[in-house]
């Protein structure tokens, strides 16, 4: 739901400016330090508690992934991967998955319902479910496979980065619950700085490819990872190496949308011009000429 104290950068399916009179809002970010995560799932529980949802009881697929996937009532999950680096020891990779809060959100670009998806000036991308029409276009637009359509109400749900808490100066619920400091929250600049320190530490401990995951293909994200193996994000349960809005979605909601709408108007208007210019095609009662041919045939 809209937060009165938060400026809005853009709204879905809206061509006029969004409520944005403050103009001095700092971008926020959540930093997930994968090297510090122990997979305790406290953040999952905190998310359920604050946002007041309860997932369905699922099934065990033989891994520690529990629940197995994101859902309309499961906005974050730990994804566990057993990874054997070439010539090295087994590494247990644990990635907290959820909305990345892209600077250029594919969900918002694809959404046809005005104001159902908003991007606050602080960078949080939020779904306003009361305006959602349940078409699932946001799922089509998302490069990270995050939004989920609810069976209960045909609305889409995902992590809000606790926009309601952030609006009143609190940190997101998951951050508050993290026992190891793997989750930190603050201004995006501060988080970059914090990450730089962590990456330096990881490099000193032999992770020479350690780095920050803030993919520029989507304009950067407001959820960032510190990855010990930043050269291969895919090993972290399929984190995309170079995520971007699909060219098909860009074509659909970029060029085609205005051009085809304009095209239909031009075609209709061309009819008006033709009618005024050339006039109607009346039936001419030119009996002599037409009758001749028909008589000729009838004989």
């Amino acid at each position: 739901m809209a937060q009165q104290s938060l400026d809005i950068e853009r709204r879905s399916a809206t061509t006029t400016p969004s409520p944005n009179m403050r103009g001095h809002v700092a971008e926020v970010a959540k930093l997930i330090d994968i090297s510090k995560c122990i997979g305790c799932k406290a953040c999952q529980s905190a998310c359920m508690e604050w946002n007041d949802y309860r997932g369905n009881v699922g099934t065990c697929d033989g891994t520690y992934n529990n629940p197995f996937d994101l859902a309309a009532n499961q906005w974050t999950v730990m994804r566990f991967t057993e990874y054997e680096p070439p010539g090295g020891n087994l590494e247990w990779l644990i990635r907290k998955d959820g909305c990345m809060h892209c600077a250029e959100p594919g969900c918002l670009k694809a959404c046809p319902a005005p104001g159902a998806i908003v991007q606050y000036s602080n960078g949080i991308v939020d779904f306003h479910e009361e305006h959602c029409i349940g078409c699932g276009y946001c799922i089509t637009g998302c490069p990270f496979n995050i939004p989920r359509l609810s069976d209960a109400d045909s609305k889409v749900y995902k992590c809000t980065l606790c926009s309601d808490r952030v609006a009143v100066g609190l940190e997101p619920a998951c951050i508050k619950s993290c026992p190891t400091g793997a989750l930190v929250f603050g201004s995006k600049d501060d988080m970059r700085q914090h990450a730089a320190g962590r990456i330096e530490d990881l490099k000193s401990r032999g992770y020479k490819n350690a780095g920050l995951y803030d993919p520029q293909g989507v304009g950067g994200t407001h959820v960032m990872y510190v990855l010990p193996h930043a050269d291969r994000p895919q090993i972290y349960a399929g984190l995309p190496k170079d995520p971007h809005i699909s060219p098909l979605v860009s074509l659909w909601k970029g060029a085609l949308k205005p051009l085809m709408s304009l095209g239909l108007g031009v075609i209709a208007f061309a009819g008006v011009i033709h009618y005024v210019g050339v006039g109607p095609n009346e039936t001419k009662d030119d009996k002599s000429k037409v009758d001749k041919s028909s008589e000729h045939r009838d004989q």
Partner: protein
């Protein structure tokens, strides 16, 4: 006018099938455009709001397909493109300028009408196929995201072509006087038939004898 009786061009079933399809097509175009560009979102008001538009559009789409298939079955035979149509096509520029003296004689439909017919056959089948792929919440979850992304683009492109074709179809009906009466009341004057579809006119006359 001559004393010849009016000629039946479209029987009652033809007309009913046409207008059922036409009404459904207009509803599909309005509800589809509503979800395509924000400038058209207000059209959701005609369908009971955004969610209702999203719910109704695909169900109406299935009805549109069924209705159109009936229409295509009735009209398909007369829409096969012939050599005479190709000759007629070379004179399209004259036809558009209302200069009809040198137009070759043609059957029940001219080349433009036949192109409209086949354009709709192709686009409506594409719209149905791609529409199934993106139909939430029933069928879309069965398809991969890559297929869904192709389907949304195909759906938008096919809809554009179909709506553009129908705008031209409606305009042509308004432009060529006597056409609307043909599809509302079924009959045309002999002079109309001779002027626009001389070959068809002679076939009808021959049968009447």
């Amino acid at each position: 006018m001559d004393n010849e009786p009016m000629i039946e061009r479209y029987g009652t079933q033809d007309r009913i099938t046409h207008w059922v399809t036409a009404i459904l097509f207009v509803l599909m175009a309005l509800s589809g455009l509503a979800l395509f560009h924000p400038a058209f979102f207000f059209l959701t008001n005609f369908f009971g709001g955004g969610s209702w538009t999203r719910i109704l559009h695909p169900f109406m789409g299935v009805l549109t397909l069924l209705s159109f298939l009936l229409l295509a079955a009735r009209f398909g035979r007369d829409n096969r493109i012939t050599e005479a149509d190709r000759q007629w096509g070379k004179h399209l520029g004259e036809f558009i300028r209302n200069r009809e003296d040198n137009l070759p004689e043609i059957g029940k439909y001219n080349l433009g009408q036949k192109y409209l017919f086949w354009t709709l056959v192709v686009t409506i089948l594409l719209l149905f196929a791609s529409g199934m792929v993106i139909w939430q919440p029933y069928f879309a979850p069965a398809f991969s995201i890559g297929v869904i992304r192709i389907a949304v683009v195909v759906h938008a492109l096919a809809a554009f072509v179909a709506i553009a074709a129908i705008i031209i179809h409606i305009y042509a009906a308004l432009w060529v006087k006597g056409s609307i009466r043909a599809m509302t009341r079924g009959k045309v004057t002999p002079a109309w038939a001779r002027q626009h579809h001389a070959t068809w006119y002679r076939e009808i006359r021959k049968e009447a004898k």
